[in-house]
């Protein structure tokens, strides 16, 4: 049985429409006009135990709304989700024992208390036995480096420390499912890296099922076995990263380091049947092309025949580029429709 089962999940919001300006504000005060807005449209998917699902979409695509329904803090308009056999909205107190939640924008830590107090409070709330608690804290300490600030009040922590502390707080009771809503937002590269490693390790050691939303596609590439992409509330793509690349990622890049930077001007790919985009910075030239129309060896052959090359690196399709393409395509289609 799947750990997470989502079936025809739908959420409509009633939105007041307000004409611009002061007069509009006045009108909406006296006679509000409502419009139904479908934030999530008919989503269905399953997540097996132990999988890390990357949930991506542009701002306002409906990611957060979906996560809120999955965690039980928002009731769906229709459809349902079932996690670990439980419907989140039905028995809240029981259900939330199974899950851990981190909202990157919010904190579950007690703002005015030293960090370790939060953990003692959580220990009691979740009924974690003393021995288990110490084992768990040691483990979390090790992967998230909490020791250096565990006695400081939460309000004095830096954002990176707070995020690590928040992740630890969500894992103290060893949840079956972990929801991470933008866990790396606003963090520097090395902290991001630490957090990713920790997430991967937890998933590996505890077989925790993880649903991750993010705008940072490195998170996705490094962590997720599977991607679920939504746009304007509907599913756009569901599959592995490899499939995503196979389906959309035919754009490849080959980077050449030239011996003489003046040689860049000599490069000419016009003999090929397809356009090749060239970018040069200093000695480095990058050729970008569609993999399905012209092969990498062909490009190499042609380049080496024209200029003297010191070094070559062939880059895989960049996931960021793919996502950008998909969203652009979606946006265009949407415009044509309306």
């Amino acid at each position: 049985m799947a750990m997470i089962e989502v079936s025809h999940l739908q959420k409509n919001f009633k939105k007041t429409t307000k004409a611009p300006g002061l007069i509009g504000a006045f009108q909406s005060l006296i006679h509000p006009q409502y419009q139904t807005f479908e934030a999530v449209k008919d989503l269905s998917f399953e997540v097996p135990q132990g999988e890390i699902l990357g949930f991506i979409g542009a701002n306002g695509a409906g990611k957060s709304t979906t996560i809120k329904m999955l965690t039980g803090i928002l009731a769906p308009t229709s459809g349902f989700c079932r996690i670990n056999g439980k419907i989140p909205q039905e028995d809240r107190k029981n259900y939330v024992k199974d899950i851990g939640v981190v909202f990157g924008q919010r904190t579950q830590l007690w703002w005015d208390l030293p960090l370790q107090e939060t953990y003692s409070v959580l220990k009691e709330i979740y009924d974690v036995p003393e021995k288990e608690f110490h084992k768990r804290m040691d483990f979390l300490n090790e992967i998230l480096d909490l020791n250096e600030f565990i006695t400081s009040p939460v309000r004095t922590l830096s954002l990176g420390q707070r995020m690590r502390a928040d992740i630890a707080a969500s894992l103290l009771h060893n949840p079956k499912v972990l929801f991470l809503d933008e866990p790396t937002i606003g963090l520097d590269v090395s902290v991001k890296d630490n957090i990713r490693k920790a997430i991967a390790q937890i998933n590996h050691e505890e077989k925790t099922t993880i649903v991750l939303t993010t705008h940072d596609l490195d998170d996705i590439e490094l962590l997720c076995n599977r991607i679920f992409m939504i746009d304007r509330g509907s599913e756009v793509f569901d599959g592995t990263i490899k499939e995503l690349k196979g389906q959309f990622g035919r754009i490849r890049e080959v980077e050449f380091e030239l011996v003489d930077s003046n040689d860049g001007a000599k490069l000419d790919y016009s003999t090929l049947p397809v356009p090749v985009e060239i970018r040069q910075t200093g000695n480095t030239v990058v050729a970008k092309f569609d993999d399905s129309l012209v092969s990498v060896p062909n490009i190499l052959k042609l380049t080496l025949a024209q200029v003297e090359v010191k070094d070559i690196s062939v880059k895989d399709a960049d996931i960021e580029e793919i996502v950008r393409q998909i969203f652009r395509k979606e946006a265009q289609e949407h415009e044509q429709l309306s």
Binding site: G72, L74, A75, N94, Q105, E117, Y126
Partner: protein
């Protein structure tokens, strides 16, 4: 039961620690309130001086003095902040983090507030309550100290706090529907101050209003315990007043459960 205590004790502790972090805030709040109590005192002093009678509506001036400072003390003792905090948390969406924990929502607030109260009352009890008792012993014509009345007062005041807590909680749950509580909070506070007898003892109102106010829950919040302290009730009256308080307590507990049941379905967390 012991696991229940174990689960909620940390909230009391958290409330205590939070109150100690922000104790200067509380002291400033107290200063403001004390000032208000003294303004009321001078107002009534002027009223009694200009009046031909030594007692107004059954209150002598020393009794009035006691009433003013007692109602101030009771106001702090029974105050409940839950409607402001729930309102704020709904407004900025941080309520989500509370709902995501396997704990009773109301109990969570309740025990945090109890922790807060332990510290705040600890700071207030000696200077204020001590002052009131000292006035009774030393003041001219002041009503004598009556320990039974004091006991009755504390029983009644504790029930009053519980009513106030659940009343505010019921009220705060409307934030789930209105999204923002600021305006309705102001209206509620004004009405409560008026109808609970904080500003003017209910005995000063016209008979019709008095009878209505006496039965409404608001008099249970402040007027009843203060009148018990002053010994204004007959034994029969004391019993019926306590029953009325318990009735309102049960009423608001049940009402809060019903509203919560609907509110949680209506819940939408604001912000990304």
């Amino acid at each position: 039961m012991s696991s229940y205590l174990r689960r909620y004790r940390p909230f009391i502790v958290a409330g205590i620690e939070e109150a100690t972090v922000y104790r200067s805030n509380f002291i400033i709040y107290l200063l403001g309130n004390t000032l208000g109590a003294f303004v009321t005192y001078f107002l009534w002093k002027a009223v009694f001086t200009s009046s031909a009678n030594s007692s107004l509506n059954g209150f002598t001036f020393p009794e009035m003095v006691l009433y003013i400072f007692l109602s101030f003390f009771t106001g702090v003792l029974t105050s409940s902040d839950s409607s402001t905090s729930v309102g704020d948390e709904v407004k900025d969406g941080s309520i989500a983090m509370r709902i995501l924990k396997p704990i009773n929502f109301a109990a969570n607030y309740f025990y945090e507030e109890i922790g807060n109260k332990i510290i705040n009352l600890g700071l207030l009890m000696l200077p204020f309550f001590g002052g009131i008792v000292a006035y009774q012993i030393l003041g001219q014509n002041a009503p004598a100290v009556n320990w039974i009345n004091i006991l009755l007062y504390f029983i009644s005041a504790i029930i009053a706090y519980l009513i106030n807590f659940y009343f505010n909680l019921c009220f705060s749950f409307t934030a789930f529907f209105f999204r923002n509580l600021w305006g309705s909070n102001l209206l509620k506070n004004a009405l409560v101050v008026f109808m609970s007898g904080t500003l003017v003892p209910l005995a000063f109102f016209p008979a019709v209003l008095q009878n209505i106010f006496k039965f409404l829950p608001f008099s249970s919040l402040l007027y009843t315990p203060v009148m018990m302290y002053l010994g204004k009730y007959s034994p029969k009256m004391i019993v019926s007043m306590l029953f009325l308080q318990i009735f309102w307590l049960v009423f608001f507990i049940v009402l809060s459960k019903i509203i919560w049941y609907f509110a949680i379905k209506h819940l939408s967390i604001q912000g990304g």
